[in-house]
Amino acid sequence: MPIETTPDASQEERLSRARAALKGVETRIGAAREAWDRPALPLTADLTELMPEGLRRGQVVAVTGATSLMLALAAEASRAGSWTAAIGMPTVGVVAAARRGIELSRLALIPHPGAQAADAVGACVDGMDVVLLGERLALSDANRRRIGARARERGGVVIAAGEWPAAHVRLDVVSSAWSGLGAGDGRLRERELTVAVGGRRAGATRRVRVLLDGDVGARWTRPGARIDVDEEVA
């Protein structure tokens, strides 16, 4: 039984101060949203509109239509010290990965896992933080479910190209528009992606415009908002 040494008024004040501090911390780190036991991996500032809660550990993100979006999702986590494996992606552009911020010394490529894809992916989900999967892996639906369960258990993140049954987050690139080219002049400068964000938990599909490869030089000519979100029912 603790000995009461302070008057009641002061105790009240201390309690309210403690509650306010706890609330401040909760709003800052977003703990009140849902009880995921592990902190999310960081995400580039440009992509927070896509996944406001960050790259939560243990989830599967299915991306269709853009390899660079997959690389951009993995970039900030890799910069912060995570290990990344890219399985079944023989055509991935390594220079693009490095420019997006993926640390190449912590990136392993397994371009052709062949018939043993399930074993290789399982091993990587066990040991690596972020696993990028290509489209043409020899994985059955049962394999995919098992990989998802393993990722949830180990706290890794699977970013898969193409369809994935029951993915937590689905990012479908609806359109991707490059700017900077003319008729024989200029060069590729900036790209605007329109991404439809859906998933197992999300009710309605949101459409988000994301600017990848932002170019300071191109920005002077085009005033206005960089990212805007409009809700619509899919």
């Binding site: 239509g65 853009a66 390899t67 660079s68 690389l71 010290g81 995570s82 290990w83 494996a85 023989p90 055509t91 991935v92 552009g93 390594v94 220079v95 693009a96 990965a97 490095a98 420019r99 190449l104 010394s105 912590r106 990136l107 392993a108 490529l109 397994i110 371009p111 052709h112 896992p113 062949g114 043993q116 074993d119 290789a120 091993a123 990587c124 066990d126 040991g127 690596m128 933080d129 359109s175 991707s176 528009a177 490059w178 700017s179 080219l181 003319g182 008729a183 024989g184 002049d185 200029g186 060069r187 590729l188 400068r189 790209r191 490869d213």
Partner: protein, 574 residues
Amino acid sequence: MSDIAPARRESSTGPVVTVRRAVLWVPDWPVVAAMGEAGLGADAPAAVLHGRGMVAVSAAARAAGVRRGMRRRLAQRACPELAILPHDEGRDSRAFEAVAAAAEEVVSGVEVSRPGLLMIPADGAARFHGSEEALAEALVTAVAELAGCESGVGMADGLLAAVLAARSSALVPGGGSADFLADAPVEVLPLAAMERRQREQVEDLVSVLTRLGLTTLADFTALPAGDVLARFGPVGMWAHRVGRGEDVRPPVLRRSEEDIAVTYAFEEPAQRVEQLALVADHVSRQLDAALLEAGVRCGRVRIAATTERGDALERVWRTDVGSRAGAFAKHMTDRVRWQLEGWLSGTSSGPERAPLTALQVTAEDVVPLGSEQAYLWGGVSGADSRAQRTLERVQGLLGADAVLAVREQGGRSPRDRVLALPWGQEATPSRRIEHPWPGRIPDPAPATVLPVPEPLEVLDAGGAPVRIDRRLAMSAPPTWVRLQVDPRDERAAAARRHPSSGRMGLASDGPSWGLPQPVEAWAGPWPIVERWWSEDSSRRACLQISLRRPDGAPGHALLASFTDGSWVLEAIYD
């Protein structure tokens, strides 16, 4: 200023802490090393060319009138039979190892200050050999006999005096360094600078001093130390101390470590993988035991094998398993086995496959146990070692070549800018990333790079293929692009079979094309002409094309290149 100078000098000098040193100097070392490698005799006229001038000149060439700093043309006019050899700092220091080893036959520890200059603390060694003269004689004899080059030895207190003494083979008596240096011109100061950058700074200082009228070291060291520091900064302070005959730091001695290597000679040449599994295990255990006995661990392992045809096969693997007790032998067994299997089966690139006659495993980057280089903050994290173990497991599952580590290297096209190696294997990139690479495809880099370029059709408004001539003129602006489609795609197959495709009755093994897609915008053509002097020369013109989607909005972008009359798809910006 002159009246307060003596007082300050009194306070700043005090008892000078110097080490009695012997310096062994091999004159014109870069050219001596280059001539040794080129197989020229010591009396041949030769010079080493770096940049635009000669950096070192042999004695015979000097007698013919060739000087350091001469341009190639001037040097060849002075001495037409001059052999001009390339500059290679690696070769200089590699070849100097032989001289250092020869000197270590006489004394117990030496410091290699720079290739061409050895520094030895003289006190103990001179006592051992009887006198300083005897030590100098023993050193010169050992280097001449074992390394086969002439050298000069000098002894003095302090760094600069010892280096100068070696150039004139003088033995300066103890305490006489200041007098020995007093009359020397300030131009000798760069001799005491051991690194190139430091030497450049000191040369700048010397040129300033000469212009100020300070021509001898006595003039310079008479200046008060505080004023020198204020006017010339740290370099001036260094020169001031060195010029007074003081030491800046004591010699750093190296101890020669024997390489730890295990060699296995096959009784009969090994041809089958099963023979090798046991040998790999045996050799790895031996190396592990040898490392343990020496109390060291290694950072890299070099696996070398000799084939029956006399080819040498060599590969270097990185090992980060020192912290895991007992794992080293197994880890190395896998590496050795993969390596040998690759060679025997002929899948890995290299010389033609042949039975192996000998195998050698050498430990490199040897450090004492417990002094491994860790990260700046903290050791190897748990996640790092877990990821390493995972990748080793996948390598065991799929083979060593199935898991790749990638590095960026220099190059022009996106495909050339990647160096992929089996995980854990070490090699140096052949193309340096710092080089300028004119004509490189500008950033942003494409996210999909095809390992083998695919054919592509770029058509003009009338449907005829666009061509680019030798002067980079395009026959027409590109208007349509036809990509290849997967032949298993049913719609493409149906379109192919349809009479309107114009392919009725043609052989079916050509590429199957998709529908033409309209071009939204394009840039180029950018020429890339590479390696015209060699077999794998290429001459291409690249085009960035962005496509319009069916609904009229701009879509994906491609990188296409035109070579030998046809278009290929290099990369996709997706």
